[in-house]
Amino acid sequence: MLTARNLTRLIDGRPIWSDLSLELRDGDRVALQGPTGSGKTLLMRALVGIDALDEGQICFRNRSLDDWSIPEYRRLVRYIPQDASFPTGSVRQSIELFFSFKVHRGLTLDTDELKYFMDILNLPESFLDKTADHLSGGEKQMAALLRSLLLKPEVLLLDEPTSSLDESMVSRVESLMNFWMEGDAGHRFLWTSHDSRQLDRMSERSIHLNGPEKADGPERSSSASVEKPAGR
């Protein structure tokens, strides 16, 4: 279980979200919703400790984040940025680089699994030898997803994972994520998207961020989170 309690993040002294609590249980498929600027990306970054929190506590497997070795925690709880980066080299090299991190030393690249994932995405074998400067935005997103899944995380925080993909690819990525979720009862994800139909398809419930407190919006209960079933 991944729990976050009373999280607050200030930007220039103003809370972007405050007193925010959430839970991700085994098998959870959760949509993270909110208008632009409501801090969805910032929340995901905070959940993996890439941004510092101003207040609040994050627990994973009943241990506070302070007690985790952070690389070890990020081995299990993985954030994939929307514009996941590939600086140089081929897709294969970047996958191999990530396997070389000390925290993954017990892990070897499962080529059968890689082949299977690539079949779901309908990617040819040659995709692995494409270099960074020849990858389109959509291909980068798929490569980033592949790279992450092969490192066997338990929790995925997906920030607009299909934002650069055309429609046919979107459904393939969704199939891949469904396949991944069925692969282990402990897998779970938090997913943001501007496509609300996608969120309805992929998630079972949602967390809503209202965005920072506006001076002229008294009816809004600032940035508290509301949990509601998705897909009504």
Binding site: I70, R74, S85, P87, F98, F101, V103, R147, S148, L151
Partner: protein, 266 residues
Amino acid sequence: MEEASYIVIGNGQLALAALLLLINIGLSVVLRLGLGRDLIVGAVRMTVQLALVGLVLEWIFQVRQPLLILLMAAVMAGLAGVAAVQRTSRRFPGVYWNSLVTISASAFLVTGAAITGILQVDPWYEPQYLIPLLGMVLGNALTGISLGLDHMMEGCVRNRNWIETMLSHGASRWEAAHDEIRQALRTGMIPTINAMMIMGIVSLPGMMTGQILAGAAPLDAVRYQMVIMFMIAACTALATLGVVLLAYRMLFSADHRFIRSRIRSK
């Protein structure tokens, strides 16, 4: 004082040399380069600064007080440390301290080792050796520090996305920063390596030429130049490494975060 083996330049000769500046000013006026003012200011600054340094050095060489010489050395190191940071286009908190600590530690270590161990100057504080050697080592370490710092900060800002992608995939802060550190060290060392590559072919180094002018045998002057180049290379490597590692500790927190907000533009 014994007879100098070189021609002492008198005031009249100095004034004659200053007339050479008229060539530059004339060109600037004729070609409308608008450089006349800058040239004059530059020439005046150079003259005043060098005259002052000359007076201070003359005094220090006469007094020959170890404490005073050390003070002079500390001032030189301090100025070099500040100048190194001033050449960079970004800053982080504590950057001046980082620069001061590393340039002082590396320059004093290398110069000290050379003076006591290699040249075996007696007494060790003999300003004729200590001051010029330290000055040359500092000048080069300064370049290494400013290039290394600049590259480290620039690289981390430019590749933030990639660094954070690595971090979020379980990379330790060291694994995530490793490439930037390596690049920063390379960049800091390149001027020194290039200087050694072309030394004697394209350029006749200033110190060696100076010694030859002062009457030293060319082969002796060459030996001094070799020693100083080894000192410069060692000191620049130490200083660049030190300052880049301190920057790394400041920019990457112990809980494996890259703290972008610590880097500000000038």
